[in-house]
């Protein structure tokens, strides 16, 4: 079915146009026109006096880049932020009104429904962005910048809008309210970490901050932003990395959306998808990082300030693992119904479906990926590697066990209890350590061993292994609680 024949697209396009697009397009036009006038004025000043008064730009190219930066800044705000928010809201409103179900009951394929929501609700913002892109081209041409700057930045902006559009549909499907502000804040919190080594952090490519900034840089600029990122030491253009990452991740999101549209009772991620996604993200992050140590962690390949880089990646790995466990873990009720349908009543079958076995798989993948930084110097740094991997495994296991235990025990209040226990295990020791000025207490934190091992190579290892042992005891206790809860549920099913 062509997009122009897709009923969801037609209807939402109609709704967008009924709400009015002319004013929005004129606003975008006025912004673009003002910036273009500003550029022309600056260029004439430079031509007359050799320097732009007050701003200090000395060349048309420098002025052009600055003004084009403003154009794409507004374009990103309109297209990616507002447009995606519009997609999410359209889906949430349709779900609330019952129209989502009505559309699902038609013979439209899930992919056709998703496509309609993907492209239509953000049309107004699309028109505005197109107008701004047009003015952006004029700015680039007038200031004699290379057209590749325009082509590259526009490709990245529109590909990001498409990728974020899919994420917007996912949020619209999964969340009751728009979570845009929360996501924006979370991204802001990540920014300081990802700017420590811009060309080595995955987030700068997934949201193509590096690709866009790199296009603006000339050879004599800040080396953090001008160098070509490397995948296992091989230089790759940043645009390609961004497009590849967005395409692969977008494919996973698309599969999830199609599956959830066909049957909303399916989990957001299948287990193999969770493992594949985790492998791709963690693997590519370590590939980007590889040139820092060339496989000999603690011995940097160049005089370099990024000693805290591996702990940041460790933290990122924990967060990604945590998110994937939440998305891929089945609801206990779903497992119970499945056990009734398929007739299994043993814990082994539950284990193979639960987040606990998935946590083990993710820990294995993370361990393998981390090995890339240690492989050629393992004899010297095996303790750091072992502590980091064991800590990762324990953290993911504890989270998975807690998640399912709380879902079984507390049902709707599960999330609150998971947060509470994670706070107790991770944050409380750190707070107490600060209050009593005693570093020893901090080592008890579930987060501590991995971060300490990767930050201070010469850490006192027995203490860290002791902390790992204590965390293992938590895993064992939680496992017995988890097993008891599942047994109760399966017994209820049998009854």
């Amino acid at each position: 079915m062509k997009l122009s024949e897709n009923p969801i697209f037609i209807t939402h396009k109609r709704l967008v146009h009924r709400g009015g697009v002319l004013a929005a397009v004129l606003i975008a036009g006025l912004i673009g026109f003002s910036l273009l006038l500003g550029l022309l004025n600056s260029l004439s000043e430079i031509k007359l006096s050799g320097q732009l008064h007050g701003w200090g730009f000395r060349s048309p190219a420098e002025t052009g880049k600055n003004i084009y930066g403003w154009v794409i800044g507004v374009e990103i705000l309109v297209l990616v932020m507002l447009g995606v928010n519009r997609v999410t809201r359209a889906l949430q409103e349709d779900r609330k009104a019952g129209l989502w179900d009505s559309n699902r009951l038609t013979p439209l394929k899930p992919g056709q429904i998703i496509t309609g929501y993907w492209f239509a609700p953000g049309l107004r913002e699309g028109y505005m962005a197109a107008v701004l892109a047009g003015f952006g081209l004029l700015v680039v041409l007038f200031s004699q910048l290379p057209v590749t700057l325009w082509l590259g930045t526009q490709t990245l902006i529109w590909s990001t809008a498409l990728f974020c559009g899919l994420l917007g549909i996912l949020f619209g499907m999964a969340a009751q309210k728009s979570s845009g502000a929360v996501i924006f804040l979370a991204m802001l919190m990540f920014c300081p970490f990802s700017f420590i080594a811009p060309s080595r952090m995955l987030t700068n490519f997934l949201f193509p901050i590096y690709g866009i900034a790199n296009l603006f840089q000339t050879g004599d600029g800040n080396r953090d932003w001008t160098r070509m990122p490397e995948i296992f030491g091989l230089p790759v253009p940043p645009i390609l990395i961004s497009l590849a990452l967005q395409a692969i991740l977008g494919l996973f999101v698309w599969r999830t959306l199609v599956r959830k549209t066909a049957n909303p009772f399916q989990p957001l991620l299948l287990r193999w998808e969770a493992v594949a996604l985790f492998s791709m993200l963690v693997g590519s992050q370590h590939a980007l990082l590889w040139d820092a140590w060339h496989g000999k962690f603690t011995a940097p390949s160049e005089p370099w300030r990024g000693r805290e880089l591996l702990p940041i990646v460790h933290g990122g790995t924990l967060i990604i693992g945590l998110i994937l466990l939440v998305l891929a873990s089945p609801q206990p009720e779903h497992v119970r119904v499945e056990s009734m349908r398929l007739g299994f009543k043993n814990l082994g079958a539950v284990f193979s479906r639960s987040a606990v076995s998935l946590a083990l798989s993710l820990a294995g993948v993370a361990g393998l990926a981390l090995l890339a930084q240690f492989a050629w110097g393992l004899a010297a740094s095996w303790q750091a590697y072992l502590v980091a991997v064991l800590n990762l495994a324990e953290f993911l296991l504890i989270f998975a066990l807690l998640l399912e235990f709380c879902r079984l025990r507390h049902r709707r209040r599960a999330l609150g209890f998971v947060a509470l226990w994670l706070f107790v295990l991770c944050a409380v020791p750190l707070i107490l350590a600060a209050v009593f000025s005693n570093e020893m207490i901090a080592r008890v934190s579930l987060l501590a061993p991995g971060f300490m091992a990767l930050t201070n190579g010469a850490e006192s290892w027995p203490q860290l292994f002791l902390a790992l042992l204590a965390h293992f005891c938590v895993v064992v206790i939680l496992f017995f609680g988890w097993r008891r809860q599942w047994k109760k549920l399966l017994a209820h099913t049998a009854g």
């Binding site: 019952g98 179900d101 009505s102």
Partner: protein, 308 residues
């Protein structure tokens, strides 16, 4: 033997801590209009959602004209129309545009003509260019019914279709349902208001706590009734009439000089015999009728007591 239009077999739907629908089986033939009756929380809406494919079920099967929901969902979607108990409409579209959306989605041939037909069938022709948000609840209800009828489904699931309609709307809805019945559709309709269903339902299915308590044709269910409430009025000798009544399987509820209301325990033949004996013994009967309609009587005897 031809396949039933709708065949539900051993349907079970589990919710956390509750079995919403438990081992429900039901078949419907062309021209059947089946009233799905039950108190709040009995599982009527869940049953309809499961049959339409909106609710995952634990066990059982649903077939429409032989096409199984689990294996041929697309075939099912073309043959089965579901109208929920609320009115999902795009508020900023006109009634005609709303129908056009679904006509495109169902790939309805001769879209324009079919839309006009459905608007006419639901008395919305003069509202075709009104925005959905401007329509009253009753009109929206009819619009959603028109949308359900667009692809000309063989089986219709109508969940509380009359809940927002005024008396005139209810009469019109009844006419539409009669037309659908005469067109050979199978209609499964749930309602709290039993008088809405009587008169055109030829079948009834009574649910309580997820289970089907009773189901069958109204006539069969009427035959199965253990007791029925009757009202009689007579002229002349009241004492004699009361004496005859008390001699039969009768529990008198209320009596007045010229008549009585009573519960009769026995089948239709026994009831006929009672009337005959009254007449033969000289009681002049001026009125002889059941109290409430058949559906109400069937429901009251099904054990499902809390209708509202």
């Amino acid at each position: 033997m031809s396949q039933p239009l709708l065949a539900i077999e051993h349907l079970r739907v589990d919710f956390p801590a509750v079995v919403a629908v438990n081992d429900l089986s039901l078949t419907m033939e062309p021209g059947d209009v089946c009233g799905l009756i039950g108190p709040n929380g009995a599982g009527k809406t869940t049953t309809m959602r499961a049959v339409s494919g909106l609710q995952e079920f634990t066990r059982g099967s649903v077939r429409v004209s032989g096409h199984e929901l689990a294996h041929e969902p697309d075939e099912m979607k073309r043959r089965l129309g579901f109208m929920p108990d609320f009115c999902p409409t795009y508020d900023q579209l006109t009634a005609a545009e709303f129908l056009e959306h679904f006509a495109r989605a169902f790939d309805v041939p001769e879209r324009g003509r079919r839309i006009e037909e459905c608007l006419e069938l639901t008395w919305l022709t003069d509202k075709r260019d009104s925005l959905c948000e401007e329509l009253s609840r009753g009109m929206k209800q009819r619009l959603v019914l028109a949308k359900t009828l667009l692809p000309d489904p063989q089986v219709l699931l109508l969940d509380e279709p009359a809940s927002g309609l005024d008396p005139l709307g209810r009469i019109e809805l009844r006419k539409i349902l009669l037309q659908l019945r005469d067109a050979g559709k199978a209609v499964l309709i749930s309602s709290h208001i039993l008088t809405e269903l009587s008169g055109f339902c030829n079948k009834a299915a009574i649910m309580e706590r997820g289970k089907l308590v009773k189901s069958g044709t109204i006539a069969d269910l009427g035959q199965q009734m253990n007791t029925r409430r009757m009202s009689v009025k007579w002229r002349g000798d009241a004492a004699k009439a009361r004496e005859i009544l008390q001699g039969a399987n009768v529990k008198i509820i209320e009596t007045a000089g010229i008549g009585a209301t009573f519960d009769f325990a026995g089948d239709t033949d026994a009831l006929d015999e009672l009337l005959k004996s009254l007449v033969v013994q000289g009681v002049r009967i001026s009125e002889w009728r059941g109290v409430g309609d058949d559906l109400e009587q069937i429901f009251l005897q099904s054990g499902a007591k809390e209708l509202m």
